[in-house]
């Protein structure tokens, strides 16, 4: 793969957008302005962006409880996302979903499902529909590494494999299912070998490197589009923050986190762009500023938006 300059800058822009959105949402949560829970995607930006930049707008993703990043990577509007996590009627889900269920159907979402592994079958079913209708679209369910121990995941890989469906299963290894390290939950080191059990290709890439992810995702997506079936793509990254904003993180020490923070995908990609003369400091600074302003506007939009009217509480209830 040799992405052009505008693609590279867009990758950078989306990664920065995710980072700034997550920092803002954590801040709002800690100040009590966001209720419920916020599960930050910080540290994993290269995974979502690398995958989604390999997709078309009409390809679909299925998200999880930790899907602010996936939505942004797929092109969702940060103002409507921020409004959703503040429980406002201008949010994507009109305040019915919140942080764990932000789903921007207009940019290609199948929903954000906050039960680990539950989005997998949805992507399989959407891909089945694409295949039955002869469409060359692809469905991409995101899951954390811990999701690869659920029945949904294994059933889903098997079904997609046996029917040769256009699915790219993205397994984002951030090392922890809440507090449980993947080493305590899976016997194998390389999760991509699990693909072998289903007779499909499995590939493991550096999830801190957006270009590595993009490269592998592009191959998997093209393979799916050609009708050659599903792929398992494991992106190796790390969750820099706690399971949720404000979580005490008693199960790991600071040194471990700091060690992984050295691989922070955003400064790393910035260095690459500068070193390879793909972009100038000024260009990248301009993006940083643009995104900071965008997120500030998103917060302002969300704060000034109304909450849902109590009289509408039963909207969308049909049984």
């Amino acid at each position: 793969m040799n992405p052009d300059k505008s693609t590279l800058l867009e990758m950078y822009r989306r990664m920065v957008r995710i980072r700034e959105f997550e920092l803002a949402s954590m801040d709002l949560f800690k100040r009590g302005q966001v209720k419920g829970a916020v599960h930050p995607y910080i540290g994993q930006e290269a995974s979502g962006v690398g995958v989604c930049m390999a997709l078309r707008r009409d390809d679909l993703i299925a998200g999880t409880h930790r899907s602010h990043g996936h939505n942004i990577a797929k092109g969702a509007d940060t103002a409507r996302m921020m409004a959703e996590i503040l429980g406002k009627v201008t949010g994507y889900c009109k305040g019915r979903g919140g942080s764990m269920h932000i789903a921007a159907f207009d940019t290609g979402s199948l929903g954000a499902l906050a039960v680990v592994g539950s989005g997998i079958p949805l992507a399989v079913g959407a891909a089945l529909a694409f295949q039955m209708r002869g469409e060359d679209r692809v469905a991409v369910p995101f899951t954390g590494e811990a999701g690869s121990n659920t029945g949904n995941w294994h059933e889903g890989l098997n079904m997609a494999a046996v029917w040769n469906l256009p699915v790219v299963f993205v397994l984002e290894n951030n090392h922890y299912g809440v507090s449980t390290n993947i080493k305590d939950a899976v016997k194998v080191d390389d999760l991509s070998v699990r693909a072998q059990a289903y007779g499909i290709p499995g590939e493991r890439v550096d999830g801190f490197d957006v270009l590595d992810v993009y490269d592998a995702a592009t191959r998997a997506v093209e393979r799916a589009r050609r009708g050659e079936g599903p792929t398992l793509l494991v992106t190796e990254a790390y969750r820099f923050e706690g399971h949720y904003a404000g979580e005490p993180e008693v199960y790991r020490n600071r040194q471990e986190v700091d060690q992984y923070r050295q691989f922070d995908p955003i400064p790393r990609f910035r260095e690459y762009l500068l070193k390879e003369n793909k972009a100038t400091d000024a260009e990248l600074d301009a993006i940083d500023t643009e995104i900071k302003q965008e997120i500030a506007r998103a917060i302002e939009f969300a704060r000034s938006s109304p909450e849902p009217e109590p009289a509408t509480a039963m909207d969308y209830v049909y049984a």
Binding site: Y92, C93, R96, F105, E155, G156, A319
Partner: protein, 358 residues
């Protein structure tokens, strides 16, 4: 079909004969054919698949084998393996994949072999499909139908894990419609409605009813989901029932007529959304109510029906509401102990006499 199936279905033992003319739903002169409940379901599938290319069938062994009870038999030959799709044994993903396909414009009709196996799929049924439209603020809809055979009895001997009636599992979840057809006419019209519905519908077929026969109109028709059906008009007592229990209610009503008791029979048809108004109106008219459901008693459907009666007809009641239900027990295997689990016509008769004597 065999003559015995055409003419009548025996309840076994000393029970009276249950014949198709207990429930007449097609007006004389209307072009119609007699068919079984199973055939009526198949015909609904065939017609909807012909009418709408987005409708397809998916489940374990639904292809050439025709499903556990032969309901989808011959559909494979007509529509092929892509639209009559055998799946691996993966209940949760069968349902979840139906949800995904429905989200992008398909109308899957999926089958889980026995309702007892739905436990494997409860996350996708109750926590995903039922909630997606609501929690996305109406951005999407999930137009699938989940067909599941349920119930047992009458010498079927399918024991504890293939005989349950679990409709209230689903009715307890906002976001699921739950339908229990009792006749071939209802099965066809309600399944067509379910397939055309834009939201998930749980369609529970009673295993013992598959061979029951009745008239089904030639013309295309769709029945409303969420409306009770008055199967018999009466003035002295109301029996509210669903599924196979409607037949016991009808048989009891016929026998009671000879004793001079006029029985109204309300077929609930759908327990979610529940048509409380029709139940309430009948209770106000008769002042006496018997509720009949095959599911186990505690937290079963009759509790909710009784509440509908209390809310809508308390001042009109002339006797306490009585219910006839499945026994609070897992279903045993041997006939001698299985028989006592199920509500039967005699139990309904006894309950009606009890409320009449109050």
């Amino acid at each position: 079909m065999a003559a015995t199936e055409r003419d009548a279905v025996s309840l076994g033992g000393a029970a009276p004969v249950m014949s198709p003319d207990l429930i007449m739903q097609v007006a004389p002169g209307t072009p119609a054919r007699e068919m079984s409940y199973q055939e009526a379901i198949r015909e609904a599938l065939r017609e909807e698949m012909t009418r709408d290319a987005s409708v397809f069938v998916m489940g374990e062994d639904v292809g050439k084998h025709g499903g556990a009870f032969g309901v989808t038999r011959t559909l494979f030959d007509q529509f092929g393996g892509a639209r009559v799709r055998n799946t691996p044994i993966s209940e949760n993903t069968i349902v979840g994949a139906a949800t995904g396909a429905a989200l992008v414009g398909m109308r899957p009709v999926i089958e889980i072999m026995f309702v007892d196996f739905s436990g494997l799929a409860m996350d996708q049924i109750c926590t995903q499909a039922a909630k997606l439209r609501f929690m996305t603020g109406g951005q999407c809809q999930v137009p699938w139908v989940l067909r599941m055979p349920q119930g047992g009895g009458a010498g079927k001997s399918t024991a504890a894990q293939h005989s349950q009636s679990l409709e209230t599992w689903f009715a307890h979840i906002p976001g699921l419609k739950v339908v229990l057809p009792s006749t071939p006419y209802d099965a066809k019209g309600l399944l067509k409605a379910a397939i055309r519905d834009n939201n998930p519908v749980i369609f529970l077929e009673h295993k013992f009813l598959y061979s029951f026969r009745g008239l089904v109109p030639d013309q295309d028709y769709v029945l409303p989901i969420g409306k009770c059906d008055v199967k018999r008009v009466g003035t002295d007592v109301t029996i509210v029932a669903s599924g196979y229990m409607v037949w016991h209610a009808m048989l009891a009503a016929q026998m009671l007529e000879r004793e001079g008791v006029s029985v109204e029979v309300i077929d609930v048809r759908a327990i979610s959304p529940l048509d409380r108004e029709t139940i309430g109106a009948s209770a106000r008219k008769t002042g006496r109510v018997v509720l009949v459901a095959e599911a186990v008693r505690d937290y079963g459907p009759t509790g909710e029906w009784a509440m509908a009666v209390t809310e809508q007809a308390f001042d009109y009641l002339r006797a306490p509401v009585v219910r006839v239900t499945g026994r609070n027990s897992p279903v045993p295997f041997a006939n001698s102990i299985e028989d006592g689990v199920w509500p039967r016509t005699d139990d309904v008769l006894q309950a009606v006499r009890q409320v009449m004597a109050y």
